[in-house]
Symmetry: C2
Subunit: 453 residues, 2 copies
C-alpha cells in the first residue's frame, strides 16, 4: 500500500469542519489593536469590512467550526485534493527519505486560495451582501474570489496592481471568465486612486494602494464587503482543510511526518497544512519538526521583528502583532509574487515566537533549480511560491541521504505554475539573479512602524 503514487480520499471522507489552532495554543495570541485607541479591536471595528460570521470566526476560540453544506458542495469540485508520494523525485535525489506532497493546484484557480474564497463568499451571501471587493497582485487571489463569487451569484470587483494588470494579462482574463470586473490600480474610481493618477498617469501601483481602493469601495455601500486572501485568522482557519485531509491520507498509508515544510507569504498555505499537525504535536501524538520557508528577498520570519505593525502600506488596518519587515518595506520584484508581503499571519508569527515551529529562507535561484528537478521527475510544474517548499524539501532529502536517515517529509505544493511560465523562461535563459538584502534596506522598511510597549 505504501508504494502508492497518489493517496486519494473519496468525497465521503472529506473533513466537514475546520480546525482553529487558537483553542489549543499554550499562550493565547496577542489581539489586534485599534490604531487610534491602541485597545484590542472589537467586532464593530471590522463590521464595515467583513460579515458578522467571519468576524466571529476571526475572534473564535472554538476548536472546530463546521463547514457549511453549500461550501462542501463547491469544495467537491476539486476536494479532497490528492496527496502524492514523490517516488520519482526520491529516486532522482537518491535519498532514503520518503517525500509526500499535498497538491492544491487541482482547484479551478490552480492554488489553495479557493479554500477560503468559497466560504468567504458564502458567508457574505448569507448576510445579504451582493458584491465583494478585493485587491490582487499577480492575480491568484483575485481569480479565486471571482470563481467563488460566480458560484453564489455575487458581483466581484478587483483592483489589480497596475504593473501586473499590464504585464500579466492572462490572470485578468481568468478573472473575467468567472465574471470578475478588474480595474488597474490606481484607478479613477476612487478618490485615493484619482489623487495618485493626477501625480503620475502611468503609476505602477502597489498591493497597499490596491487594498486602499478595494476597502474604500467596500465601506461606502451597505451591500458590499471586502475580502482578504491571507494573513487573518479566519483565512488560516478555512485553509486547515488541507492539513486535515493530509492527516487522513497519511494515516491510510500508516505514516507520520518527521519533517513538515511549507512556504510562507501571508501564512495561509503554511497554516492550512501545518496547524492540524501542530495540534497532533501539542497533543503528543506525533513530533514533527515544522518548518516555514520564505524567500531571502522577503525574510519576514528570519530577519523581521516581532511587533505590532499595520497590515497595509497606507496604515489603514488594525495593528497586528506579527513578524514584520515594516509596512514601508518594498521587497525586490522576485518571481514568487505571493511571498512578497512585509508581514506574516499573526498566528504563524505567534507559533514561531512560542518555538513551536522554525523558519528558514532560501534564495530564488535555488528554488527554481529545485522546481526544474521536481518538474522533470514528478511532472507537475510548480508555481514560484511553492518552489521554496520544494527547495527546502530537497535540502532535507539530501541531508537524509548524507546521514542515512529514512525520514518522512511532508510538504505543500500549493499551486501550479501554468501562468508563471515567463518566470521559468527567465530562469532557463540564465536571466534570474539573487539580490543581497542589506541592513540599510531592512532599516528603511521599519520607518513608521509604531513603538508600542
Amino acid at each position: 500500500m505504501t508504494d502508492y503514487t497518489k493517496i486519494l480520499l473519496d468525497e465521503s471522507e472529506m473533513p466537514t469542519r475546520w480546525y482553529n489552532i487558537v483553542a489549543d495554543l499554550p499562550v493565547p495570541p496577542p489581539p489586534p489593536l485599534h490604531p487610534g485607541t491602541l485597545q484590542p479591536a472589537t467586532a464593530d471595528d471590522f463590521a464595515a469590512l467583513f460579515p458578522r460570521a467571519l468576524i466571529e470566526q476571526e475572534m473564535s476560540t472554538e476548536r472546530y467550526i463546521d463547514i457549511p453544506g453549500e461550501v462542501l458542495d463547491v469544495y467537491r469540485l476539486w476536494r479532497p485534493s490528492p496527496l502524492f508520494r514523490a517516488h520519482r523525485l526520491e529516486k532522482l535525489l537518491d535519498t532514503p527519505a520518503k517525500i509526500y506532497y499535498k497538491y492544491e493546484g487541482v482547484s479551478p484557480a490552480g492554488s489553495h486560495k479557493p479554500n477560503t474564497a468559497v466560504p468567504q463568499v458564502w458567508y457574505n451571501a448569507q448576510e445579504g451582501i451582493r458584491k465583494l471587493t478585493t485587491e490582487t497582485g499577480a492575480g491568484q487571489w483575485g481569480s479565486s474570489l471571482a470563481f467563488a463569487c460566480a458560484q453564489f451569484g455575487l458581483e466581484c470587483e478587483i483592483w489589480q496592481v497596475a504593473a501586473s494588470y499590464r504585464s500579466k494579462p492572462h490572470r485578468r482574463t481568468m478573472m473575467e471568465i468567472w465574471g470578475g470586473k478588474v480595474h488597474p490600480s490606481p484607478s479613477n474610481l476612487t478618490e485615493f486612486g484619482r489623487s495618485l493618477l493626477a501625480q503620475d498617469p502611468d503609476h505602477p501601483g502597489s498591493l497597499g494602494i490596491a487594498i486602499s481602493e478595494a476597502v474604500s469601495e467596500a465601506i461606502q455601500d451597505p451591500h458590499t464587503r471586502y475580502a482578504l486572501g491571507s494573513v487573518l485568522n479566519h483565512v488560516l482557519l478555512h485553509q486547515t482543510i488541507i492539513g486535515e485531509e493530509a492527516l487522513l491520507q497519511l494515516a491510510k498509508v500508516g505514516e507520520t511526518p518527521d519533517v513538515l515544510v511549507g512556504c510562507t507569504g501571508g501564512g495561509s498555505n503554511f497554516g492550512g497544512l501545518a496547524f492540524p499537525f501542530l495540534r497532533e504535536k501539542l497533543a503528543g501524538r506525533m513530533n514533527p519538526v515544522i518548518r516555514c520557508v520564505e524567500p531571502t528577498a522577503c525574510p519576514t520570519l528570519t530577519r523581521g521583528q516581532y511587533r505590532y505593525d499595520f497590515g497595509d502600506t497606507a496604515g489603514l488596518t488594525p495593528l497586528m502583532k506579527m513578524h514584520t519587515l515594516g509596512h514601508a518595506f518594498i521587497p525586490e520584484p522576485i518571481h514568487a509574487g505571493g511571498l512578497r508581503y512585509h508581514g506574516m499571519a499573526p498566528l504563524v508569527s505567534h507559533v514561531l515566537d512560542l518555538g513551536l515551529v522554525e523558519a528558514i529562507a532560501i534564495p530564488q535561484v535555488e528554488c527554481f533549480e529545485g522546481a526544474i528537478r521536481f518538474a522533470r521527475s514528478e511532472g507537475i510544474v510548480p508555481a514560484p511560491e511553492p518552489t521554496h517548499a520544494i527547495a527546502a524539501t530537497i535540502r532535507e532529502a539530501i541531508a537524509c541521504r548524507e546521514r542515512g536517515e529514512q525520514k518522512v517529509i511532508l510538504t505543500a505544493l500549493c499551486g501550479h505554475g501554468h501562468l508563471d511560465l515567463a518566470s521559468y523562461d527567465k530562469f532557463l535563459s540564465g536571466g534570474m539573479r539573487d539580490l543581497e538584502l542589506t541592513d540599510a534596506m531592512l532599516a528603511e522598511g521599519m520607518r513608521g512602524v509604531p513603538e508600542i510597549g
Copy 2:
C-alpha cells in the same frame, strides 16, 4: 451515491490494457498504402520512423494489449483521471439530463496527449532509441512528448510552427522545463527548412513543414525516431485508457450513457473515449448515440470526402483512407489549434463510414459561449478544443429539457485552457468571429489528392 461530484478510481483499479477496436469491427479498416506502389504499406515502410513495437501495434488485430508496468508507473502521476458529474452545469441549464465529463486536464501537460507520449517514449527506449523528434503547433503535443522523454531519459527535439513559436512562448517554455529542445520551423537545421528560409527569412511555417523537418531529422540517425501525437492506430489505442476508466467509473454509479460526445481533430481524444463504449455497443451491452464534434471551420467529417489522402501537406506519408478536406486545405486560424487538421484518424473515419458513430460541426463562437457557462458553473476553464464537446453537450442537454428526457450524457474534457487565455480574452472582448467556409475553399483543398479507385 449518484450525487457524487467526482467519481474516482484508486490506482489499483486502473485498467492495465489498452483496447484495440480493430478486433471487433464488422468490416476491417482499409489499410494504408505505399505512395509509390499503391500497395498496402508494410512494417518495413514505417521502420525508419517508428520502433518495431509501435508498428506492430499499428497493424495489430489483437483485442487487448497489455500496458507495460513502467508505463503504468508514469500514468500513476495523474491517472486514473476523474470523472465528474456536472451538477452545477445541469442546474444552470435547468435540464433533466445527467451530464458526466471525463477530465484529462489533470495530466502534467494538461491534456490527454501524455497518454500516448509516455508509451511511445517507453517503446522507443526499449529498442535503444536515444532521441525522438516531433512537430508541434500550439505546443500541446510537443510538451507532452518532452515530459515523457524526461521520464525515460531520452532527448526530445521539437519543430514548432514558427508563427506559434513567436506568438505563444509559454508552451515553448513548458517544453524546455521538461528538457525539450525547441526549434522554430522552418529552421536552418534541415535542408527543407533552409530552402524555405532562403525564400522568406520570416516564413511563418506550418504543421506540414514542421512534420517534414522532424521526419527528415529522424530518418538520418539510427538512434533517432519520430513520434506522432494523433491520427494513427497505435495513438488511438493508447488513448483508450480514457474510455476504459470511464466505463468503470460509470459502473460505480450504476449509469450507462445514452449519448456520448467528443471533439475530433486528429481523432485520438474521441477514439480514446468512444472506442471502449463502441465495443459495448457492438456487443449489445449498451446502445449510446456516439457523436463526433468538429469545428465548422475545419469540417473534416461533415463536409470532407472519405478517400485516400496524405497525412501531411508535403505528401511524404503513406496514403490513408480517411475523411479529408484535402492535404492542401488551409483552415482558418481558429482558436482550437488542435482541431485544425485536414484529415481524420482512419479508424474514426471508418466507424463513421460504417454508420457506428455520427458527426456534427459547431462554430467557435458558440463553443466559447458554452465554455464560459461551463467555467462559471463547473470551475474548470476548458481548452479551446473541448469547448466543441461542451457546446454539443449543452445542445443535447437543452434538447432534453425541451423534450423532458432524462438522458445520461458523457463527454470528454480533454484539456484545460490555462495556456489559451488569449483566446478567451479575444472572445470576452467581442473580437471573435465565425467565418463562412465556401465550396470554393473546399474545392481548393482537394487539389492534388490522388484519384484511387
